[in-house]
């Protein structure tokens, strides 16, 4: 990790869904940080809480979901307690978001130009013609051919890949410091996923924009991310530099995840399954949430919940790395 102060810092974030049958805890003590210009990959099985973490950061949790504890700091300033109106000025301007399905994220009734200009004019002091010129510039930057003509096209006139490029332009056009990209290529044709990821990475690097990149594609993580967070049952179970987490994971869940990747010459689109299933939110076992599936489970795992511990090159939430424990094999 670099010495630069983090751009985003998430401390012990807890997200709850109150319901008639009691409170579901969707995120539990989630902590991580993202340095300026850094790309943090977030992986984990479906339902691990990846999207929830992104939604909590931009404060667009689906009601009745709410942040019940912890802090979120952007450039050292707390944003988890801002009013909706103050938060609105952060969304788009300081933190951009990219959603999964470009076919549904663009408003079908407005031209892409209009969607771009209204976003820029909301956040930046631009005249109509300045905004339009910049919109054309953004479309060019994300690789839309004949941008000056296509600016007046409607979303349905673009293919899926082109629409996701438009979405990327929309997320970046007010020049946010951080982009939360939630599976930005999952809905795209396999043949264009790599192009879109490459574009995203190039723009993030050029603009020195940090990114939280949620994906199921370990190939994408390996090529794009600087650091990786592995999530399981609403918790971060391992976090560390990308090479370490992918090549030498420490947490038994990460080891299972990485082992499920076929040899490098085959790209995977989806993570293969580890035996067993992630527990439902209302049935997370006491102790380590991974204990029913863990091949290395021992007594302490059943009763005590591990926090992130120093595991050498990464940090892992596993008792195996408690220096007080005698070595287990």
């Amino acid at each position: 990790m670099t010495a630069a102060p983090p751009l985003l810092e998430v401390r012990n974030l807890r997200v709850e869904f109150p319901s008639r049958r009691g409170t579901l805890v969707a995120l539990h003590d989630v902590s991580f940080s993202i340095a300026p210009g850094e790309i943090l990959g977030v992986v984990g099985e479906s339902g691990a809480g990846k999207s929830m973490t992104g939604a909590a950061i931009i404060r667009l949790l689906e009601p009745p979901g709410r942040i019940a504890g912890g802090q979120i700091l952007l450039e050292g300033r707390r944003i988890d307690n801002l009013s909706q109106d103050e938060m609105r000025r952060i969304r788009g301007r300081r933190i951009g978001a990219i959603f999964q399905d470009p076919l549904t994220t663009l408003n079908p009734l407005y031209t892409v130009g209009r969607q771009l200009t209204e976003t820029m004019q909301t956040h930046l002091d631009l005249s109509g013609s300045e905004a339009r010129a910049r919109a054309i510039g953004w479309l060019e930057m994300v690789g839309i051919p004949a941008a000056a003509q296509r600016i007046d096209s409607y979303p349905h006139e673009f293919s899926g890949g082109m629409r996701q490029r438009v979405v990327i332009a929309l997320a970046l056009c007010a020049e946010p410091r951080l982009v939360v990209a939630d599976e930005p290529t999952t809905a795209l044709d396999v043949s264009i996923q790599a192009q879109v990821i490459a574009l995203l990475k190039r723009l993030a690097r050029e603009k020195n924009t940090s990114m939280m990149l949620v994906t199921h594609d370990m190939g994408v993580i390996a090529e794009t991310a600087d650091r990786v967070a592995v999530m399981y049952a609403g918790r971060v179970v391992e976090i560390g530099p990308v090479r370490e987490v992918v090549k030498h994971p420490h947490h038994p869940y990460s080891i299972g995840l990485m082992n499920s990747i076929p040899p490098l010459d085959h790209r995977v689109e989806r993570l293969a399954q580890i035996d067993g299933a992630m527990p439902r939110l209302n049935a997370v076992p006491p102790g380590c949430p991974y204990n029913p599936r863990c091949p290395k489970v021992f007594d302490r795992c059943i009763v005590e919940r591990p926090d992130l511990l120093d595991a050498g090159s990464t940090r892992a939430a596993c008792w195996l790395y408690d220096p007080a424990e005698p070595p287990h094999v």
Binding site: I90, G92, G96, T105, N107, Y154, E157, F158, S159, M162
Partner: protein, 329 residues
């Protein structure tokens, strides 16, 4: 665009012909126009002459063709009851009905849409609950009962508004309007509310349902994630997307407002086409009934066309030049 309008017009022709056939069948088979027109005392010769005059001795299709030909020229013969040209009677009564129907439609639209938006946006507020309960009353109470209740409250008890008639009207060319006199406007209030209430509640519930649907979509979440102002998200992005279904229903409702004006006009003794129709039914005045039926069909067909054109204006996906725009990758 032109081809689109033309194809819609061509589609309307068979519809109108079927309705014409029905109204003509009334002429031919319901009641006996000859005996109605001749009364009790007549000679065989008088009777034959009248049958020939009316063309009733001709084959069915010749009669039907002549009926359609006349109808196109607005020629429906003489009213049996009033012995005046039907076209003249209808032209005299049409302004009253159209003014009443437009007011009712305006109330339904300009009150119903905002109420729908409000109840969609603020689902939990007590005002929303009140509106919804109120709308149940509007949907479930029959129109005549609402009319009678309004008369009871505002005419009989409070004495604020007249209970019947159109008040004073001003003749502008062949159009008699109640909009220009105080008593004319006052007379409009109760019947317009009575006629519009059902449509108002219907539109409100429809807009609410559509709003709830649209607010859940990804493009609304994405609009919020870009930090757009609530006003522009709710009343721009969301409301515009609810318009397509609302236009359909509102359009069709305007048709039914004119058609169902019969009940309201009867309750309020409003001198419009509906009242004329009811009086004609009582007197088996077939020419008036046939003409009224055709006119209502024409209204529906016209409204359908207008609705299609509005779609076309609102939703870019329906515009025909879609095929021309290139779909890049």
């Amino acid at each position: 665009m032109f081809a689109f309008v033309l194809s819609r017009l061509l589609q309307a022709v068979p519809v109108m012909l079927v309705v014409a056939l029905i109204s003509f069948a009334m002429f031919a088979y319901v009641g006996d126009p000859v005996s109605i027109m001749l009364g009790q005392d007549f000679t065989e010769a008088q009777r034959d002459a009248l049958v020939r005059d009316l063309g009733l001795d001709q084959p069915f299709f010749v009669q039907f063709a002549r009926f359609v030909g006349n109808a196109i020229q607005g020629e429906f013969g003489l009213s049996y009851r009033l012995s005046r040209p039907v076209a003249e009677l209808i032209a005299e009564r049409a302004p009253a009905t159209l003014e009443l129907a437009s007011c009712a439609a305006a109330i339904a639209l300009f009150v119903g849409v905002p109420m729908g938006v409000f109840t969609g946006l603020y689902r939990q507020s007590w005002l929303s609950r009140f509106f919804l309960t109120f709308s149940l009353i509007g949907v479930s109470l029959p129109t005549f009962l609402i009319g009678i209740l309004l008369i009871l409250i505002f005419s009989v008890w409070l004495g604020w508004l007249p209970s019947f008639g159109r008040g004073d009207t001003v003749q502008i060319g062949s159009w008699s309007t109640g909009f220009l006199t105080g008593s004319g406007l006052k007379a409009l209030v109760l019947p317009a509310i009575t006629l519009g209430l059902f449509q108002l509640t219907l539109i409100m519930r429809l807009v609410r349902a559509e709003m709830l649907e649209v607010l859940r979509t990804d493009y609304i979440k994405f609009a919020r994630a870009r930090g757009l102002a609530d006003r522009s998200v709710n009343f721009g992005h969301a409301l515009k997307n609810t318009l397509v279904p609302v236009i359909t229903i509102a359009g069709l409702q305007f048709g039914s407002i004119i058609a169902f004006a019969i009940v309201t006009e009867t309750v309020f003794q409003w001198p419009g086409m509906g009242l004329l129709f009811i009086q004609s039914v009582g007197a088996a005045d077939i020419p008036v009934m046939a003409a009224y039926l055709l006119l209502i069909a024409l209204v529906f067909v016209t409204i359908n066309l207008v609705v299609d054109l509005l779609y076309y204006a609102v939703d870019p996906r329906l515009r025909a030049d879609r095929g021309a725009s290139a779909r890049g990758t």
